[in-house]
């Protein structure tokens, strides 16, 4: 695969950045990949495991002469970091990010950037419940979606180049506007995460069922929730705070529907329940047909089978 960028700077060295590094190496997509992390411990780990061709101790050093700078940091600090790197960016460089929320990130970052760089926000729909510099792997983005969210006046050539990088890392790239992105993600990811967090918290609070029992007997359903609820707390706090409106809208609808089902249970309305559960089956079939998952029996056993 041909090299797409001469020099790439990864700001923040967690799951996404480390996976990007290994995926870029796998594809020979970048001449040099430099990395920066705020924590000295993370930088130390990165150096130990060979994450990045060069790990820098300052933001200024990391972005110097970079043709592409990717902000791989929690959504809540995007604006502050953009302000810090702005004076050190190379003319003509592309600035991108991997945040799970787009409208808020654009509002935070765009005002700080000089006119002579290209801002191309993006979001890879890929992840695991693990975090940190050692959690990445080259295959994370293979056959996953990467959504590019162009801002007003984004240069088509800069967008095309970023698209080529992500395609080289295995992703399928689509473009979407920021508001729509944030609503789609509220439905498919943000609200489900909050719900999983909540259910796991409820189990933990319940004194009549011991923690040991919750843990031992979580064979069905609950275990999938605990996996989701193990995701990085800082990242998710920022996601909810910065995609507040869309998340609250979806949660409002969710609560309405849940109340209707609770009522059906209380009143013994089996037809309502059966109809509802039959309808949800069809969505699952759609996902399998769309190639986003397989129908191999796997209910909470995925980890085990991949041994």
């Amino acid at each position: 695969m041909p090299q797409v960028y001469e020099r790439v700077a990864l700001i923040g060295l967690g799951l996404i950045a480390s996976s990007m590094f290994w995926a870029m190496k796998r594809g020979g997509l970048a001449g040099e990949v430099v990395g920066y992390a705020r924590s000295a411990e993370t930088r130390e780990t990165a150096r130990e495991i060979g994450l990045c061709d060069r790990v820098c101790d300052t933001l200024a050093e990391a972005v110097e002469d970079a043709d592409l700078v990717v902000l791989c940091i929690p959504v809540g600090v995007m604006g502050a970091v953009a302000a810090q790197i702005a004076p050190h960016l190379k003319a003509g460089a592309t600035i991108s990010d991997v945040g799970s929320v787009k409208a808020d990130v654009i509002a935070q970052v765009a005002p700080h950037l000089p006119d002579n760089v290209h801002f191309v926000p993006a979001h890879p729909l890929a992840g695991t419940e693990h975090s940190g510099p050692a959690s990445g792997f080259a295959e994370l983005f293979d056959n996953r979606w990467l959504l590019i969210v162009p801002t007003e006046g984004t240069d088509p050539a800069a967008t095309a180049q970023l698209r080529a990088l992500w395609e080289g890392m295995g992703a399928n790239v689509e473009e979407m506007d920021a508001e729509h992105h944030d609503l789609v993600l509220a439905v498919t990811s943000h609200a489900p995460h909050l719900i999983a967090y909540t259910m796991v918290g409820v189990a933990d609070d319940l004194r009549r069922v011991t923690d040991t029992e919750v843990i031992k007997y979580s064979a069905a359903g609950f275990r999938d929730f605990t996996r989701i609820a193990a995701s990085d707390p800082t990242m998710w706090r920022d996601v909810f705070l910065s995609n507040k409106e869309a998340t609250l809208e979806i949660l409002g609808r969710f609560t309405e529907e849940l109340f209707a089902l609770q009522r059906a249970i209380r009143q013994g309305d089996g037809d309502h329940l059966h109809d509802y559960f039959t309808r949800t089956r069809a969505i699952r079939r759609g996902i399998i047909e769309a190639g986003q998952d397989t129908d191999a029996p796997d209910f909470g056993r995925g980890g085990e089978r991949s041994k």
Copy 2:
């Protein structure tokens, strides 16, 4: 492994019964396994795929001379089927079931059984989102929990024999009383299933996000929900109706917690969110340490990795 029962009758030939058949064959645990399903189509499929040593066309024929009869049918019809088989049961036989709810099943079944049989209710904590006679496999119960819920006056010898069968099929067996069982399952399985069903229904209702988008971009979180929400509608309708009180109690607590988190989002209370999310991580670690799952990165990718 030594044979545990001379003749076993499986009533209902779905995921659990078909997995029991293959697991009993694997272990040489039963002399003959006969099966019955209400639908002629299911019986036909069972005969075609060699499910059961003998498939019977009537309940009476299936339970005749059986040393163990296992009711593998939706919870809502347990009482009716118990009434039908009662006159045909062999003296000294053990009657068991695999229902996800126990107090209600005991209340339905026990009154119909003659005094000269042993009733030993049980519940295997294992499953996939698939159903039907062709969905079973011998490994389903390996290293999964089987909860035995003895009723008043259950014969310890009959309980021990059933325990030996399930251990032979790979399960870890524990005993629990019916009320506690139903509460533990409401937390770890029933409420999470209802919540997953609800979230998938919400996504389907939302007109501003197309079904195609929900399906395409369901990389994180939501896909785990759709897997759960694809489970058998009849089975789950009956579970909720027959474990009404415990399920509604847990859903009430869930709603309280969800409202508190929604409020934190609305008010921008990041500390509340971060603390909550940090606490839920610990439960996940507990589950991994308890050997109920692995920490291999698998977020919604389980099916894919097991190819």
